[in-house]
């Protein structure tokens, strides 16, 4: 008898489960005003606290909940957001006038107090419940933030910093009262003044946001201004690229990013999908260890620049989704010298230079890289073979490789460096100033150091440009890198997504995105 009751219970549960499979099938009715936009991101995010991470994808999500004093247009130009206007009365002072009538998601008004609190939390040591923000360095030499009247805030700098404006979009304004109330829980329950408010979700599962109806409208320079058209946006975390693509093609998500070039043709063949690309900000380069033979000889470094056919690599390995660079700066960035031309593919010249340097028979070489970049390196290695350089490729876990690079133990590595401000400062200084943090080529040139240091504090745009022109000329000639390419950011959306453009800094801002 007892057994039979069990059978019935199991049977009933099975029927229920099968029935519920169909219950979930009814598509939710979507009214014009009530749609959800789903974005498939290529990684989980670190936190929802704007001051406690160093991660671009994390910032992408946070930026839909929070606004900054300023923001960037998709092409990278800095425009006002919470700040209405700004002045730079002297090189050590910046003043920002705050727009009035901005509300946080909990209904409270945004004041200069909140702005000051936000920046103090970032720049002051131990300001986050005893810990220091890992975003402190992004505020450079800003030492103090002062309130000047009801609607103006002043940044005081230790030394002039011409790229303050370019760096400011990376900071988002939090509510002082709210952070003081919830403390470190801001990492899981964010509350800002951006176009969407947080509803539910976690940094490992999904983030669900809903339109903030009292939104002040965002930057007037990026129309249309006003509350977001989408009722709801969801960020899903999909580290596997095949899954992102399948989810987009299957209609489960509306927007995906970080698509490798070789997958583009699959997506372009799908009539329900539109692929969009934009010039990226990651500079790719082969870095040669200039302290050791054979790369201690500038002729060898130049020879390698001539021996690698970068146009062919971009065309064939990247399916054309990249731009070959002439020298160390982004083609669309500030202060790039338009007179510099790429080295170009010239194996005869490469051989001649190698001969002059005493390497007529070539040499053996190991090129180090990480897994996702290896295809480019294999292509380059085969080209080097044509001029007698026998190159093998070694792929590494990045953390392991980096220590060896900094110790100067490797010969040549291929990697990239982010330059989202489009300003030479955060590319050339860490990569090529003597002993700086990302200087894997161990290049050290007092003349270049002096130029870079001068440009760091030079506020006259034209003078600064000239300094960088001079710096570029030196780097171009000394060739510590094989100047390679900037890849295009490849993103894709369903064909019914309107008003969405990928940004050059790879942020996905959904404020203005609509569904047809």
């Amino acid at each position: 008898m007892k057994k039979r009751a069990w059978y019935f219970a199991v049977l009933a549960l099975a029927v229920l489960m099968i029935g519920s499979l169909f219950a979930g099938c009814q598509p939710a009715e979507k009214e014009a005003e009530d749609y959800t936009i789903i974005v498939g991101l290529s990684q989980t995010i670190m936190t929802l606290d704007p001051a406690n991470h160093r991660d671009r994808v994390t910032e992408t999500v946070i930026r839909n909940i929070y606004d900054g004093l300023v923001t960037r247009k998709p092409d990278g130009t800095v425009v006002p957001e919470i700040a209405e206007s700004w002045t730079n009365p002297d090189p050590l002072t910046w003043e920002f006038k705050i727009r009035s009538g901005i509300k946080f998601h909990n209904g409270s008004d945004l004041t200069v107090e909140d702005v000051k609190f936000t920046f103090d939390r970032v720049i002051q040591e131990g300001a986050m419940e005893g810990e220091t923000s890992p975003r402190k360095g992004l505020m450079g030499p800003v030492t103090e933030v002062e309130i000047v009247g009801d609607d103006t805030i002043r940044f005081v700098l230790k030394k002039p910093w011409p790229i303050l404006l370019a760096m400011l979009p990376h900071q988002q304004i939090v509510s002082k009262a709210y952070v003081e109330e919830v403390g470190s829980d801001i990492a899981t329950k964010p509350m800002g003044c951006g176009p969407f408010k947080f509803v539910e979700g976690s940094i490992d599962e999904r983030i669900v946001l809903e339109r903030f109806d009292d939104y002040y409208g965002g930057s007037p320079e990026i129309p249309p201004v006003g509350p977001a058209p989408a009722k709801r946006v969801i960020f899903e975390f999909m580290p596997e690229v095949s899954t992102r693509i399948a989810a987009l093609q299957g209609g489960d998500v509306h927007i995906i990013h970080n698509i490798p070039p070789d997958m583009v043709s699959t997506l372009e063949a799908d009539p329900n999908v539109i692929v969009k690309t934009v010039e990226g900000t990651r500079m790719h380069m082969f870095e040669m260890n200039v302290t050791k033979p054979p790369f201690d000889d500038v002729r060898v470094r130049q020879a390698v620049n001539y021996a690698i056919d970068m146009d062919a690599i971009v065309k064939n390995v990247l399916s054309g989704y990249g731009t070959v660079v002439a020298g160390p700066l982004l083609p669309h960035g500030f202060a790039r010298d338009p007179d510099l031309k790429p080295y170009g593919y010239d194996p005869a010249k490469a051989k001649k230079l190698l001969e002059e340097a005493g390497y007529a028979d070539g040499f053996e070489l190991v090129i180090d890289t990480t897994d996702e970049l290896k295809d480019v390196v294999y292509a380059a290695a085969s080209m080097l073979a044509d001029v007698g350089i026998e190159a093998t490729v070694r792929t590494w876990d990045w953390g392991v490789l980096k220590e060896q690079l900094l110790a100067g133990e490797r010969m040549m590595c291929f990697g990239n460096w982010g330059n989202s401000t489009l300003d030479p400062s955060d590319l050339l200084v860490p990569k090529l100033r003597s002993n700086d943090r990302g200087n894997y080529s161990h290049y050290s040139n007092p003349e270049l150091d002096a130029l870079l240091d001068a440009a760091e504090v030079e506020t006259d745009r034209e003078v600064r440009k000239t300094l960088y022109y001079q710096a570029q000329a030196i780097i171009y000639e000394d060739a510590p890198w094989v100047f390679s390419y900037v890849g295009r950011e490849i993103e894709a959306c369903r064909s019914n997504v309107e008003n969405w453009q990928p940004s050059t800094d790879s942020r996905i801002n959904l404020h203005r995105v609509k569904l047809k």
Partner: protein, 336 residues
């Protein structure tokens, strides 16, 4: 008596888990790669002062034995530390991810067993028949097939082409499940949200098949061979001689005995399910422990890796304990 022995086994698991924690602690720190530097990424505007402060905050400036001391002290307080990259207590992160992993492992195990045991038994009874050959070929295929490939193929067929099953995640947002335990099937039943139960099951199908397929293959082969062994025994002949129905001979007399080696394999395989799900969780964007730990290894998030590996170790030990307890039910002659 039995209970005391089980309690003893559980107590033995504690030093095992702590030992594994210490080993992982050392391995992570001996692996090259600086967590602070990796967190700051390949980008500009990182000040030396900032690096110094973070290194101090995470005690990375202290000698190894002092760091180990901190780790053990926190462990004694039941604190697994705070994740470097996510800035939150490791236990909170694990608590969020563990139900997802267990639910998937359970789904995979159920799929595997429902498929494998009947196939194993039928193959043995009808040895060398077409069914036997066909199912063993499929089983061989299952053992060889890499799970990420199987997962993507299933996704392309059932999600992209046919559009009947979802491509990612645990549940559709639209069903509005109120989370109680974190086990979505349980939560949907508790809250009576049948749409959520449907959505959970639908999301569970492809990952469970992907994860469970290799296990099904192995279990089916083991079940088949141990059934073949048992069917040759005298007591089976005796049972048949008594005039029992064939079904009864096979299920009650033979299968029960053939289950003993099979259960051993199942126990090990369940441990493997937890390990193997790193790939399946990544492919199906499943918010479980596997996905959590993979990324934290690359970014050298020491506390998070330590915590997750200790949880893995614990579940592995627990799965084997459950298997040992099961033995005693299947064959009362065996004791723990």
């Amino acid at each position: 008596m039995q209970a005391a022995k089980i309690a003893e086994r559980i107590l033995i698991a504690i030093p095992v888990v702590i030992g594994i924690g210490i080993i992982i602690f050392l391995i992570m720190r001996l692996t090259p790669g600086d967590p602070v530097d990796i967190m700051m990424g390949q980008a500009g505007h990182v000040s030396a002062r900032e690096i110094e402060l973070l290194t101090e905050q995470w005690h990375l400036n202290e000698p190894l034995h002092i760091q180990l001391g901190y780790f053990l002290r926190d462990l004694a307080r039941g604190d697994l530390g705070t994740s470097f990259t996510k800035g939150r207590p490791v236990w909170d992160l694990i608590k969020g991810a563990l139900p997802a992993t267990l639910e998937l492992a359970l789904g995979a195990a159920i799929f595997a067993l429902l498929l494998a045991i009947p196939i194993g038994v039928i193959s043995a009874v009808k040895q060398n028949s077409f069914i036997d050959r066909a199912s063993m070929t499929v089983a061989f295929f299952g053992i060889c097939m890499p799970v990420f490939y199987l997962g993507i193929i299933l996704m392309l067929v059932f999600s992209v082409k046919m559009g009947v099953l979802p491509t990612y995640g645990r549940i559709s947002y639209e069903v509005m499940l109120h989370k109680v335990t974190g086990f979505y099937m349980l939560d949907s039943i508790i809250t009576g949200n049948w749409a959520a139960l449907g959505s959970t099951l639908k999301h569970l199908i492809l990952p469970s098949i992907t994860l469970g397929f290799p296990m099904a293959a192995i279990v089916a082969r083991v079940m088949r061979s141990s059934m073949l062994e048992v069917l040759r025994n005298d007591y089976v002949v005796m049972a048949r001689a008594k005039g029992l129905r064939e079904f009864s001979v096979i299920v009650k007399h033979a299968m029960r005995n053939a289950m003993i080696p099979t259960v051993t394999v199942i126990g090990l395989e369940i441990g493997m399910l937890l390990g193997g799900n790193m790939i399946v969780e990544t492919v199906f964007s499943w918010p479980g422990l596997g996905r959590l730990v993979v990324n934290s290894i690359f970014v050298r998030d020491y506390p998070l890796v330590q915590g997750v590996v200790m949880v893995y170790a614990f579940t592995f030990v627990a799965a084997n304990l459950v298997v040992d307890i099961l033995y005693t039910y299947i064959n009362p002659k065996i004791s723990i």
